[in-house]
């Protein structure tokens, strides 16, 4: 087994197993009507894709995926589940063929568009123009960060990233002000739950 893996390169096998697990999780999320299970599976999906991004050397994307996908959006979806039901209603059957046709047409168009893309690692591709060349050559001397994408994001374009962070921070503050802090636990829902709990405990006592 280990000799077999040593021939193929273990990283390729690892990528294959990660992608297989991604597929399994995606189909399980489609099949499940239990919303809490779907939320947990989407967290697992984000962790898997983040691991896959690390394997592709896209460290910054992996950071974002882990923080946003596995961290924040799981919490947000659970907060949304507080306000709605636990089980998804069965989908209406009538529109399924139309939706399938739209998805297949879009996918075919995207696949057709990939034919125009430059070959992988092509030195004449637009992405490998003069600027990229300079970053690749100068990053070890300028900054000595092992990952060049991280160097571009956090150092060469540091002010740009700072501005983006400020925009997101402002948006977050605005949303908190609009919703009112702690509105997730306030309101009638919690009071209703406590009342029904009291009823249940009273019935148990009786």
């Amino acid at each position: 087994m280990s000799e077999f893996e040593a021939h193929i390169s273990p990283i390729v096998l690892l990528d294959l197993s990660l992608l297989t697990m991604l597929l399994i999780v995606a189909f399980a999320m489609l099949r499940s009507r239990h919303l809490f299970a779907v939320v947990m599976l989407s967290g697992i999906y984000s962790l898997l894709s983040a691991a896959f991004f690390v394997s592709l050397d896209a460290v910054d994307v992996a950071f974002t995926e882990a923080a946003v996908g596995a961290g924040i959006s799981t919490v947000l979806m659970l907060g949304g589940m507080l306000l709605t039901v636990r089980r998804e209603k069965p989908a209406a059957k009538g529109r399924a063929p139309v939706a399938l046709a739209v998805v297949l047409a879009t996918g075919a168009a995207l696949l057709y568009a990939t034919i125009d893309m430059p070959a992988f690692g092509d030195p004449n591709a637009p992405a490998n123009d003069a600027v990229g060349q300079r970053y690749v050559e100068e990053t070890p001397n300028d900054i000595a960060v092992p990952n060049i994408v991280t160097a571009v994001l956090a150092s060469y374009r540091g002010f740009d990233t700072l501005g983006e962070t400020m925009v997101i921070f402002t948006a977050g503050i605005a949303v908190i002000l609009l919703l009112g802090a702690g509105s997730g636990r306030g309101g009638r829902k919690v009071a209703d739950r406590e009342a029904s709990d009291h009823d249940a405990s009273n019935r148990e006592a009786k």
């Binding site: 273990p10 990283i11 962790l47 983040a50 882990a66």
Partner: protein
């Protein structure tokens, strides 16, 4: 190198097992535990990936994932303190009903 390959294989198998529990798991707590242990396996896998490719610089990311995983599990468990799981209201009723019948009899 062989040792890292074997360890990675073992962790991938453990991830598949946690995945099965997350998909099949009958109760909510099975799924919370599966998600948490899947996050731990991802941390270990990223650490091992760095050593497999000969660049252990990525251990920092594994540390960040461990932090996110911890915070996420705490948030999910807070969710249970806001609202009881859907199985919980059903169980007391089943326990309560027979005594009422006895009282009526």
């Amino acid at each position: 190198m062989t040792m890292f390959v074997v360890a990675t294989t073992a962790i991938v198998i453990a991830m598949v097992l946690a995945l099965i529990r997350a998909i099949a798991g009958p109760s909510l707590y099975d799924r919370v535990l599966a998600g948490n242990s899947f996050g731990t396996k991802t941390v270990l896998l990223i650490g091992l990936m760095g050593f497999l490719t000969g660049r252990p610089d990525f251990l920092d990311i594994a540390l960040l994932y461990a932090l996110i995983n911890f915070t996420g599990t705490l948030a999910i468990l807070r969710f249970f303190s806001y609202r009881k799981p859907s199985t919980a209201p059903a169980e007391p009723r089943r326990n309560v009903d027979p005594p009422q019948k006895e009282g009526a009899a």
